[in-house]
Subunit: 299 residues, 2 copies
């Protein structure tokens, strides 16, 4: 089968053998924004030469701005519920194929706004073996909008999003705080002590809006040199994310993502007394393979 | 005397009678950034025709990027300490005048970054009569960087800053949340129910970084119409500011600032069970008059 993770700005395709192992892999600058609606044409180009019958996709391709809006599946959501929510799209220029899009997951807490994800749920499904046992298992996919998923008994019970990465980028690039930092953002260092100091500061009084200003005053008073300030800011934000989202008493959390980011989150979790288990990003192929198997799409 | 509030982007001058009442007032687009270092020339132009001897200034004009860096006065700081910290600047092109700059105030909490203000302290001094009695009195000057000052026994005991206004502007203009709101930022309405809903949401679980994402999901699910979203976002941020900065049990808070902003903060305080007393912005003239009197600069 072919598994595809198709997001707003990225496209990743995996060719899998019958057991779900990756045989080949392709990526392209063919995210939704770049496709201008020509999804079928782009897909046909990208899978050319791979003659597998079943194509299963996840990510924003199933959103309102994608190929077909596939309704969210409600929490608690396991592989059975998500597989049942797969929708087939009509793709006449891909004869002999069946093309499916996986649904996202919605969590509707009683007294708070709904929470959603599209794409991350297949990565969580790909963690299946690591999440064996009843749980609770906490899974974090850090990023522009970090996702925290609570898995119990093989089903996703809750989702929580933190806008940590987006806020970091805004503050680093466009705020008064960023103005005190080095101009060359691309050369930002990962300073471990400054990051740890930021994580520690997030436990203090005053709240995030107050503590952010500490980046500036410590700069003014020579207590935080400009090259260390981005790491301090990152630690402060990640600290707030963890303290806001993780209930106390959690002992272990799973991190899914790129090496640099999960390392950083693992350090922050460690400072909070939580053991981090890091996993690579290429889990969505496994998750999509699992969905295809459950739905009976594999030959 | 002449009292001047000279900030990064604004210049306001007041001519006061012997009792401290404002006789005349001028403002100019002559903030520090516009002066390019020619502070003496700008001052001479702005006070032309006002022949009072004593000129006392406050604000960023006393910072490192101003005319003369006047050292901060440590908390607890009352009018005696701040008056003692006034520094005279040499202004040969203003013969027959004495030109003074007031210091800012620094608060150095034991386990947190230092907190500073320059200019706001003269507004707090101008509130003298409203802050009679031992206190504690909480004074808030909302804005890009809101200042919270605790006054006890006539002296400023602590300062706390919240980057609420700056964060609001960043999120409204440049974030994914802003992308869901109407394009015409200048036409944003002040929707009281949506603002109150945001203040209420700030009491929920998940922390600010999580709750911000609720602006997006409520938009996606049709629970928060785009014209109301800016007010909801504002309420969420102001709610976090108040909950972060104000200790529980505070019954009254003073608000100093423009009408629209202090009205909004008063509504948020009310929702938290705190009575707001609103004051206009033109308090710095009174504060500077008081400093001049204490220092013996009045004829």
């Amino acid at each position: 089968m072919i598994a595809i993770d198709w997001g707003t700005s990225s496209f990743r395709a995996y060719r899998l053998d019958a057991a779900g192992a990756v045989i080949e892999q392709r990526s392209a600058a063919a995210g939704l924004l770049a496709c201008q609606g020509a999804f079928e044409t782009v897909l046909a180009q990208q899978v050319a030469g791979w003659d597998d019958r079943a194509i299963v996709m996840a990510g924003m391709i199933g959103s309102r701005s994608g190929w077909l809006e596939v309704p969210y599946v409600d929490c608690p959501a396991g592989e059975a519920e998500i597989a049942a929510g797969l929708r087939e799209v009509n793709a006449p220029s891909l004869p002999g194929r069946t093309v499916w899009i996986a649904p996202g997951v919605v969590h509707r807490p009683p007294q708070a706004p709904p929470e959603v994800m599209r794409g991350e749920e297949t990565q969580v499904l790909g963690l299946r073996e690591a999440l064996a046992g009843d749980g609770p298992h906490w899974v974090c996919l850090p990023g522009t909008h970090s996702k925290w998923v609570l898995v119990e008994g093989g089903r996703m019970r809750s989702v929580r999003t933190a806008m940590t990465g987006e806020l970091y980028a805004l503050l680093r690039r466009q705020s008064l705080l960023g103005a005190l930092m080095p101009d060359a953002i691309d050369e930002d260092i990962d300073d471990e002590p400054a990051f740890a100091q930021g994580v520690a500061a997030s436990a203090g009084a005053g709240g995030l809006l107050n503590q952010l200003f500490g980046v500036r005053t410590q700069g003014l008073f020579g207590e935080l040199p400009p090259p260390q300030a981005p790491s301090y800011l990152s630690g402060l934000l990640v600290g707030h994310e963890l303290r806001g989202v993780l209930p106390s008493g959690v002992g272990v959390a799973h991190l899914v993502g790129g090496d640099a980011l999960t390392r950083r989150y693992a350090r922050a979790l460690d400072l909070l007394g939580v053991t981090a288990l890091r996993h690579g990003e290429a889990l969505s192929a496994q998750g999509l393979h699992r969905l295809a198997a459950v739905r009976g799409l594999l030959d």
